[in-house]
Symmetry: C2
Subunit: 103 residues, 2 copies
């Protein structure tokens, strides 16, 4: 997903570009409030490969959603601000299953 100068700055696109991948939201979710070390985080996300985790964390750092303190990963303010979004995503996933389940 790339931003072109033709595509005007749309908040939906902004969010999708930051968090639309397979792991970004899961990582933010598993980070919680604490700072977590690479291998610990890996276990919480299982099964993710070293490469994909390292690369995704790098991208999250570049977008300032995550930073590193004392060798551990932690959400930034912008990362923590995903809280309500995360909640809405979880809620929708559940609601969707529920709606499909009824007949």
């Amino acid at each position: 997903m790339k931003t072109s100068p033709l595509t005007p700055r749309c908040p939906i696109r902004t969010t999708l570009e930051l968090l639309g991948g397979k792991w970004q939201l899961l990582i933010l979710d598993r980070l919680g409030e604490e700072a977590v070390a690479f291998t610990d985080l890996k276990l919480r996300l299982h099964p993710i490969s070293d490469k994909v985790l390292a690369h995704t964390l790098q991208r999250l750092r570049e977008s300032k959603l995550v930073d590193v303190v004392g060798g551990k990963y932690r959400r930034t303010k912008a990362g923590t601000a995903t809280g309500p979004l995360l909640a809405a995503i979880v809620a929708y996933g559940q609601e969707y299953e529920r709606l499909l389940a009824e007949t």
Copy 2:
């Protein structure tokens, strides 16, 4: 993004699989409450190609988020239920820009 039997049913993944693509959420957003014809929808989403729109609509129909009535596209109940999610996504996109703006 594929679902493997190994990846347990996680609501975050469910939502990402349904709506993580480039156009799904935009389409749901532009559909609003009314039923909209293909070409009309295309104009609202500009620039999207015929092929991508047709294909994405097909996928949305398969996941029961959109249906067709009298040749026009309309959100289903599950499609309409994305409302709060959409709002959270827009809100986060704006909040993110705001947070990055403050040095």
